[in-house]
Symmetry: D2
Subunit: 314 residues, 4 copies
């Protein structure tokens, strides 16, 4: 990520302004506000605004006339209870707004979460920046052999070099052609007066999917946690997971009690099927069970043994 | 509305706390924060929190790195443009949270707006307050003769008195029985040790629909405007319209540029059908047109003439 | 439930009409179509329409050009995989529409599920039927002592009789007054020409919350399963659970493979917290653990032991 | 669009199967079912399933026990009334499901409509087809001078040829490199055993935005009409508008009464602002008004005159 000096100055200026408010304030999140946290080679996450803190959750759960908070351990207990019993509505009472720069192929995954508000930079209206994603060498992974939707070993040597060459050269070439078709520079001045220039809404189709886009993205805490439970997971694609992991840090600064309950009950927990639960009960009772006896498919058995940190074969 | 002294004190205490924030602040809304604005006989609206101001809308529309605002008239022009062309996503970048006390039969209309976040006081878990809505005499309207879903003239004299008696007596009686069935007082102490007491989740079914409930209700500005365009409208039931009208004042204090655009393009405007537009064009051209010639149904013609402030019959 | 003879005849007539379609058909659900399944004393559930079957789920998951189905066990395996890994979008490809009659206090819980489409009978526009819910004697439960949001023992003898009397008498009385205030009969004819009659939108506020309302309710299969996982659960209020349980039967007739996966992975399964999972691992390893050693709160420990069917104290 | 012979055969096979159903059937839509209607050079729209017809709308509006329909003109009158007064919930009672093939840059606009259900072909899991969009010569438009988000004159001659060359060559080249990086053919066989092959979820980032993707897309009629009011509009990008226009035809075959009301009240109608309405009233009264006197901005005046088919300057 390279912010222009103008952008950096705008961010600094906004960070310096403070005003008194009667609203609840999250001090550790205020410290992060507006800063651009770099993600991947040119992406970032910035927190632009937020509403509510842990106390807003207990206040809503209690439908309170005042702050609604009690002792910290009572509030933590209530938040744990709400999380455990999936009483989700109080968590919807907090809201956060991000400014995010991310590759288009990741934006396409991200946008599938429909319960957020989005304002994206428009390639119909504006000229796209010349910034594209090139994986770091350690991310140049082969197709997984066991999982059709995943990565295996890392490419190395000449093969890795060839992939990086292709990605860089093709991205560079399509942008050169994008500029040529537009016949205007980044601020909209005509380059060659003898030519017409293709409409922006058409020219953009020549860009590759690793080009960066950016958007304002606003979501409530409940739906953010749902997003994070899927996208900070080890099955998520690396290039979206790095955004989710930074967001987990931001959530920790914002609503520490909720973050702690979320890590315990969602991220670090496990969902057992009815059959899986029956097996666990028998194992606690001292039985030795094999996949063949379990009634589970091989895939289910493998997943259950992984959850329990047991060897697949006894 | 009669806040208890404890409630009033909690609200005052919360109003007195101020903290520095880096976030955008809406000064006129800060002034209103936490205050209970009385609505109907026992209801209220309180603003509990908000996110963003007019400048958050232009900032998102410009996908800005800084505040994103320019001269006030440029910002107003952009907001008018967004409203006129139904570019709705930037308006979703502002959020507001209310604490609202309202009769249950109104809550049932209100909740049909699905794009909000709601935390309602639970009659399964807690004991309902003894507060019910009795219309003011000037609101005791007869069934409309022209509109099956509306009000006509006001009831008067003995008839009005009889209605008020019924409403008060029935509401009082069902609450007395509610208390008897519960066999516990408002703070949950058993009244008659020799009896058992019905579960709260069952006893509440004996209350009438004019009993008050309360909830925390959070919504983004775009969806709030949609709510207001329907509920501040003259066709809305009076008992929900009074809430919507107070909210319009709150919106004006919060986001004055957006409020102004909303009043111009939504509330005060008109939607013409294709046929209606064709008639308007002919009228501007000097033609005299009657309902019979118009191709409109009587209902449509009446509505069009009302919109144009013209007599139904020439 | 007592359908009028007109209503019963309308239902029969609709059941008798059949037409050829190119769409996927669910034979067991066709058998149920339009029938009114009685719930509680006057309520019902009717299936009005549906879209898709199990095969629509695999077809969408495979983004297929044809039917997309393979061998039954391959389809079942895919549906199990989707359910287990929370790949929820293919389940959204099936849709079902119900006509439901239910008490208002249950309708208020129900409507909190926001992802459905709803058309409710309007008390502003029409006159409410004289039908109210009276619990069966075995449902007259006391407030639970251990769970503020639940039921305990059943009321008996004089106490039960008193509660039933109150509920019946109050519901009857408020309806008599409703009619008096309306001054019109069920088909809208004026009763007493010398009087005016209160607007329907006002008179309805005198009814108690156990009066029945009805609506058309349409939802996709994914969101229906979410509804059922909460409302067919033992923690749900009895009066909504009976509707959910009937719906589970309907889902089984409609999409049997999905129903089976749902029962295994959702309804019969369990979610373990990170701490709970750690304890399970130690127990499988042969350790004896007490609540004090567990790091869990008493409530969490009790819930975990219940899940594992172990005694709370060793 | 070139369906493979396998795909064409699958579609034919599905069209040939018919079954009896008790559900409402839309004959003209049945005729279209499963057929691939070509859009752009390689895209298509197919109707896969639907729920309800015009009669489902009146049935829900009347919360009926039977079919709920009356005489056709009564049903049409009710549908017109619902459309005019924005009683939107009955229109949500109909649902339709499409299989759509479309360029990625159009899919990115399309997905912004959040109220639909979507299952997209996965480039993480599967290999993308070699199909990309090249505009027809008459669509090679220059950037509009008056509207930053639109098209102007058509490019011609050498300039047009150059643009087409760029688009074709770059799309072809990035796909060749995509295949090379994957090191597998379309059915997943390794091409060069001495090489490893990049993970699919990474290799896809080298494709340009005019590559085609495909998805199953399901939406209710109300939200479909909202989509169409924006995307069949003259301000919409041509490449999405052609899909919307075909969908309008499909809607006409499916729910003709609703289509007619939609065309009259939404598509062909106009929204006047409060100021615009005041001007229309004065014009009907015979006044001559200029932009300077109008109180409207130049943009608003231009739009109003266009709506009224009047010259901008008197």
């Amino acid at each position: 990520m390279a912010l222009s000096s103008t952008q950096a100055a705008e961010i600094s200026a906004q960070r310096e302004e403070t005003t008194l408010t009667r609203r609840e304030v999250a001090p550790a999140l205020e410290e992060m506000l507006y800063k651009a946290f770099p993600i991947l080679d040119h992406g970032f996450i910035r927190v632009i605004d937020y509403m509510g803190t842990d106390s807003a959750i207990v206040q809503a759960a209690r439908v309170s006339y005042g702050k609604g908070t009690r002792k910290v351990n009572e509030d933590a207990g209530l938040i744990n209870y709400l999380m455990r019993h999936r009483h989700t509505t109080p968590f919807e009472m907090c809201e956060i707004k991000f400014h995010i720069k991310l590759p288009i192929f990741i934006a396409r995954q991200w946008i599938r979460h429909r319960t957020a508000n989005v304002n994206e930079y428009s390639g119909r209206y504006s000229i796209m920046d010349k910034e594209f994603y090139i994986p770091a060498p350690e991310q140049l992974a082969a197709q997984s052999q066991s999982n059709r939707q995943g990565r295996g070993d890392t490419l190395e040597g000449a093969e890795a070099a060839r992939v990086l060459d292709i990605l860089k050269n093709d991205a560079t070439q399509v942008y050169t052609h994008y500029e040529e078709m537009l016949n205007e520079d980044i601020v909209g001045n005509v380059v060659d007066e003898s030519k017409t220039g293709l409409a922006r809404e058409l020219a953009r189709m020549n860009l590759t999917l690793n080009y960066y886009t950016q958007w304002y993205w606003k979501i409530d805490l409940q739906n953010l946690m749902h997003f994070l439970s899927l996208r900070a997971d080890s099955h998520a694609q690396y290039e979206i997971r790095v955004y989710a992991e930074k967001m987990l840090e931001i959530v920790k600064a914002w609503v520490p009690l909720t973050h702690s309950a979320f890590m315990d009950y969602r991220v670090g927990g496990a969902a057992l099927s009815s059959k899986g639960l029956a097996i666990v009960k028998r194992m606690i009772g001292g039985e030795k069970i094999t996949q063949e006896q379990s009634g589970l498919s091989k895939g289910e058995w493998r997943e259950l043994m992984k959850t329990l940190e047991l060897p697949e074969a006894a």
